[in-house]
């Protein structure tokens, strides 16, 4: 494999992530405004700050993310955009890991795997215990 410029790739992937995410969030908000609601919630409820009325993250069923997007439900576009944003920095660690594998830097392969392990632990294991 040819040596790749890790800085350039990181910079490009961060930019792509932010742009994709912002585009999805903005289109989601526009759809919500146009349709006057999303995911069974009215516009007034979505814009409310009250915890008992409003639509917040854990109420959005992520299992239906793509069906929701297919049905042009704005909430799912915002959710998709926010998750793209959450995953954007993680790709940086993956790219760094790949560059360490390429240079066979054992210590840093271990350290970046460790970071990825904690990240996936936080995303997949911890939420299980929250509900």
């Amino acid at each position: 494999m040819k040596h790749f410029d890790v800085y350039r790739i990181i910079s490009a992937s961060l930019r792509t992530g932010v742009i994709l995410s912002m585009a999805s969030v903005i289109s989601g908000i526009v759809i919500i405004m146009v349709k006057g609601g999303a995911d069974g919630y009215t516009l007034a409820q979505i814009a409310s700050y009250s915890k008992s009325q409003t639509l917040y993250s854990s109420l959005i069923p992520l299992n239906n993310l793509f069906t929701g997007m297919y049905q042009l439900d704005g909430a799912f576009y915002v959710a998709f955009g926010l998750w793209v944003l959450i995953f954007t920095p993680i790709t940086v660690v993956v790219i760094a890991l790949m560059s360490f594998i390429e240079t066979r830097n054992r210590l840093y392969i271990a350290l970046s795997s460790c970071v990825l392990f904690v990240l996936f632990f936080a995303m997949l294991v911890v939420p299980h215990f929250l509900s």
Partner: protein, 327 residues
């Protein structure tokens, strides 16, 4: 129709708040979240957990946005960043679980108070910022060799290549654990603590510290975000508006930072931040009815304490600058 217009205006007003937060945050180097959380909770009446949730999301957006610009200059040290991320991510898990615990036990007033204290504490290093560009020369220690903490970058302003050796990796890790905890607990990037870890503990040059910290902030915030998501702390309407606003604000803040030659203007923003810090502490006690103060008196008390706080910092700073000039 009337309702739609009101909601669009509400959205725009939050975007505007985000722009302001991103602008001040990037100008003072503290990051958008530090301004955003008090702004949303004090002036917009947003519940604290929604404010921290929106802030955490916005923190990722700004970190990713500005890191994409910084990493191209190749100043950020990826090895140091990834190595320290081990501690910040573990800290972020601990911190965000702590928030969930406080929320479930009706102790959210503590989040306000801790936020205020952290905000005031971050102002002290923010004041010193930009005075010493390069750290004093120290001999590399055993961690420098094992963890490969040496590096080199080209400083455009000093017009030379700067070589550096990071030391005390273990101390950096310990501080980063706390930085991660604070980030997960308060929904901010905790850039001030990250800078402390790399600048003071590991003796790295300011440029390396700030760019590496910026690149790390996103990873730390992403760790806490999923826990926030499943706990329901991310209100999509608010988070969408602030993420858009903070990105715009941070962009202009970074542009303005280059143009501003008069350093004293930063003091105005630091004064606003110290007001927000004091106000957060008082607000914490008031929301839980531990003490009762009329809002107007509350603002007045905050202003007075903030003015005293910033005056002490200003005078202390002036004396230091003068003693440096005398040398």
């Amino acid at each position: 129709m009337y309702e739609l217009l009101a909601i669009i205006l509400k959205f725009i007003s939050i975007v505007f708040g985000g722009i302001l937060a991103g602008f001040i945050g990037s100008l003072t180097g503290l990051g958008g979240g530090t301004v955003l959380v008090p702004l949303l909770s004090i002036f917009y009446g947003v519940p604290i957990v929604f404010a921290t949730g929106a802030s955490l999301i916005s923190t990722i957006a700004t970190s990713a946005g500005s890191a994409s610009a910084y990493t191209k200059e190749k100043i950020a040290n990826i090895k140091i960043g990834v190595g320290l991320e081990v501690a910040t991510t573990i800290g972020a898990v601990v911190g965000s679980l702590l928030t969930v615990y406080l929320d479930h036990h009706a102790l959210t007033w503590l989040i306000y108070v801790i936020f205020g204290i952290v905000l005031l504490g971050s102002l002290v290093p923010a004041v010193k910022r930009g005075q010493s560009e390069l750290p004093p020369h120290t001999r590399p220690d055993w961690t420098t060799r094992i963890f490969e903490l040496s590096g080199k970058y080209h400083d455009a302003r000093l017009k030379k290549d700067v070589d550096y050796n990071g030391i005390r990796w273990w101390l950096g890790e310990i501080i980063m654990f706390f930085a991660g905890t604070v980030s997960g607990l308060l929904g901010i990037g905790s850039g001030a603590l990250k800078v402390l870890g790399m600048d003071w503990a590991m003796n790295l040059p300011m440029k390396v510290t700030t760019t590496t910290s910026n690149f790390m902030i996103g990873i730390t915030a992403a760790t806490g975000s999923s826990i926030y998501w499943y706990s329901g702390y991310i209100q999509i309407f608010i988070a969408a508006a602030t993420a858009i606003g903070v990105v715009i604000g941070a962009y202009f803040g970074a542009k303005a930072l280059v143009k501003i030659t008069n350093k004293d203007i930063r003091w105005i923003f630091l004064a606003i931040l110290s007001f927000l810090g004091v106000e957060m502490i008082i607000r914490g006690f008031v929301t839980d009815n531990i003490i009762f103060i009329v809002p107007l008196i509350q603002f007045l008390i905050s202003i007075v304490i903030a003015v005293v706080f910033i005056a002490v910092l200003y005078l202390h700073n002036m004396r230091r600058v003068r003693s440096v000039e005398a040398l």
